[in-house]
Symmetry: C3
Subunit: 277 residues, 3 copies
């Protein structure tokens, strides 16, 4: 197995050095947390909700983050126009498809994204499986109801769906859970670690997507960007694990995300598919 | 006086066991805090702003929270459609009418809700009195100007208004303040405790409404749900009361909301009307 | 040089005594932080996004804060109508023009504000220079691209632009950075202090604008309001400077904003233009 430590350390350090500009369209529940987490690792966030601002920010950006939570009526146009611009300018972007099955605008955006794929898709196991089914990439096993933020499936149940999505999109897919799976349709790794507190705060997944967009701004290989984000995230989570409650955890987690060096971020163990089976 | 401790402990424990799905339409100022407080006591939040998402989430939900702060143009349709769905499916919902008199859309929604009443209405004394006057349930004593989040009245000044609202709506009314009044138009109790810090952070009332919706998802009797939420809230507030400032208080308060057991939550004293007069 | 300590202490104390009503139209990223910071120093916030709510809240308010981050489609009308009402009722308001060059609605609002100037404009050096150029008050030195929240210029590079803006608007201009410049087109002072952590959290500038609006509600002279806000802000920042990370800093900063007395706030040194050159 290749040693990804050097690439992860380099990716983490490149963000600290370059401070990439990483705007987002993201939900209002956790927008503050996403911005603070992006700053903590070295990115420069800007949040927006209008189509022409999306187009303009794509011109100026190093990468983009799109999270489909808390849609407003203006999201449909704003998200589509932003994605079209990202595709035209060949810039990296990360999708968090949160809210699958929530309503018509969400469905329309998911349909649009099938043909305009993200560089990295990050979601939990249930979301990844539903997305692959919705796009007709794997057979329909479950009803297409609303898929909440709490996954009803284990990460390794979503392996086939993740592979199918990665091959369809030509990008990287991340499945989050007790361990986190990363695949580009060819390579597949698991990152271990993190903290159970993640499920006790709102926005852990949103943060991870936002931080992933920051690393995707500097990495040639989005597989390395995804691994680096997961490692930075899981390391900070583990360090903050001793918190007395969810709000203390969140404070310590953001503090740690800021403090950790590139070398430390690269130390979280990753294992190849099969090793944990 | 009946001993509500057993019912409160049972309601609190039922939420921990069932983890009900409790979506909200709530203001953007405190939406993150509402979600985190709901998770802390055992609920599963989902926030939304579109009408069809409201209708869909009502189908999936165990209860709903509607808070009328920071209205967008899309709220009018979204809130009305969501409430109509809640009524059709006989699901419990909690109203925080915050922002009374703020503008035309707020007025229209309040008028609509008169005929489609909430299971629980939670507000401060000034808001409860204004709401009862606006709906013609008590005589007009004050001008119908904007009613801010800071109550100009004491809780027990709002007793008649609270009773009138509860009888009109066939539900429960909660008046928050130094002590908190709960009535279903028949029974009336006060819960003592809490913390003065509540007035020094934005969103204490929003949290309480959100947490009340979580307990309303499992309680047969909304009176018990309201009491349980107030007790959980006041206990955590009292425990965090030694904080050095408002931001520290908020962190400790959410931590405590998470830590407290069902038994502890049931220990906050409640007294019958008249005892404190 | 006049001794501003007495005026600053009086302004700070007047806010604690009067608790002015200080509504805002402000971005969703930091809206919670702005509300908490305003409460911490003694204001009473209310956030809104609809035009008629803006008009109504202007009638009830003591001052207003307008921050142009995260525009929605409804902002264009809401912001213009609110500003027109503020002008008609001669009430003080603070502008944070954040997002210059981001898109068409932002440009339209900036053009409108040229003819309906704010009592206080607060921005970083790059933003102040771009604003003065956009309004044709100083010669065009830089391209009119998007200006992010991270200033590419030092505060004293923006002196001429700040003076030009203050003279055009007949109000006060604040340029934030390592030191903070305040001018009314005649007087010019620098306030020293603060914390480097300010750049590591989102919303430090938003908070400052919101707190400035609170002081502008009670001060006859907006120059004193601006100085008081900067001093309150820099004192709390300095006190929280020992934090272990950005999230801890934010908590300690809000706590300190609440704790500091009017006398303490007046102790931060201010120096006249030229002294630091």
């Amino acid at each position: 197995m290749p040693n990804y430590q050097a690439e992860i350390a380099a990716c983490s350090q490149a963000v600290r050095d370059k401070m990439p500009f990483t705007p987002s369209i993201t939900n209002v529940v956790t927008v503050n947390l996403v911005a603070n987490a992006q700053i903590a690792v070295g990115g420069r966030p800007a949040m927006l909700y209008l189509a022409d601002e999306g187009i303009n920010m794509v011109q100026a950006c190093d990468s983009f983050y799109i999270n489909l939570g808390t849609l407003f009526p203006s999201h449909r146009e704003a998200v589509q126009e932003t994605i079209a611009s990202l595709q035209a300018s060949h810039k990296a972007w990360v999708l968090d498809p949160v809210g699958l099955g929530k309503g018509a605008d969400h469905n329309a955006l998911i349909a649009y994204i099938k043909d305009h794929p993200a560089t990295i898709i990050k979601a939990n196991a249930s979301e990844i499986m539903t997305l692959a089914q919705t796009w007709g990439l794997i057979s329909q096993e479950t009803e297409q109801n609303y898929v909440g933020v709490d996954s009803r499936h284990e990460v390794n149940q979503a392996q086939a769906a993740a592979l199918a999505l990665a091959r369809h999109s030509g990008g990287v897919v991340v499945v989050t859970g007790q361990s986190d799976l990363v695949t580009d349709g060819n390579r597949m790794l698991y990152s271990l670690g993190g903290s159970d507190w993640m499920e006790k705060i709102t926005g852990a997944g949103c943060i991870l997507g936002g931080v992933m967009a920051v690393y995707a701004a500097v990495a040639q290989d989005p597989f390395i960007a995804a691994l680096t984000a997961i490692n930075a995230f899981n390391l900070a989570g583990k360090q903050a694990d001793g918190a007395k409650g969810p709000a203390s955890f969140q404070t310590q987690f953001i503090d740690r995300l800021y403090q950790n060096s590139a070398r430390e971020v690269s130390q979280i163990p990753v294992i190849e598919q099969g090793e944990e089976d």
